[in-house]
Amino acid sequence: MSEARAVWVKRHTWIVRLGIVVNFAFVIPLMLFPEWILALFKLPPEASLWVRFAGLLLGLLSIFYVPATVDIDRYRIVAWLAVFPSRTAGALFFGAAVLLHGHPPGFLVAVLVDASFALASLYCLLQIVRIERNGA
């Protein structure tokens, strides 16, 4: 593996790992203190079970990002799927919920998180592919 490729693989790994940590910063309060996190982002109170379940699914989704951080060559498809559709569609879903369907603006936090990590990891993946195609 060339040095340049190794650098971008390392960057991708750390960005995805950071994304997982940030996700879990939402997962844990969503599961354990749903009322607190809803109030924090000024979201309307809901039956806590729905919120906890959404937190659980977000946590499970985040765990699926791990393989690409362990071996990007074997789990390259997981790295791409984490960008399209997972992070990208997550950002679009919450963006549409707020902008088109009038849901509370607190959900824009999810747009910010998903879009940031989608763009950052996409950039790293494109760099890795570019280096591989150039045969470096």
Partner: protein
């Protein structure tokens, strides 16, 4: 010599078990995508169908739907190459078990969902175990 002692027999066994596992997984992922779409498009109807009484569950139900579809997409690697990509398959079985147990513990209308997740977790666990037993037998 017994047929079961030949390499071709072992390879045929492994291929058969891989087909069975992949079909089970494909059915499950298809059902998950359908469930996700229903949750996304008709959340209030689905809540009523399972008796999950909530005044306005639409936003969080839709979120479940989206997450289920994303999970199915992330599982694609496990479906295409089950023996080469072990982590998504193992994580997926664990994920179904945890989700199923949470639903069963929640009780009420969640029981059906819980049974669905636990049933497929067990089917996939057995299928994956048998696939690996057969796969190992092809490498004497």
């Amino acid at each position: 010599m017994n047929d079961a002692l030949t390499l071709s027999w072992s390879q045929a066994q492994a291929a058969g078990r891989e087909r069975t596992y992949r079909r089970t997984l494909a059915v499950n992922l298809g059902l998950n995508v359908i469930l996700g779409l229903v949750l996304l498009v008709a959340p209030v109807w689905f809540a009523g169908l399972l008796g999950l009484g909530a005044a306005e569950p639409a936003a969080w139900f839709r979120l479940w739907g989206v997450a289920l579809i994303f999970l199915a997409a992330l599982y694609a690697a496990g479906l295409m190459l089950p023996t080469e990509t072990r982590v998504p398959n193992l994580v997926g079985i664990g994920e179904r078990t945890v989700t199923g147990i949470v639903c069963l513990v929640a009780g009420g209308g969640f029981l059906l969902l819980g049974l669905y997740f636990v049933l497929f977790a067990l089917l996939l666990l057995v299928g994956y175990y048998r696939l690996f037993q057969a796969e190992l037998a092809t490498r004497p």
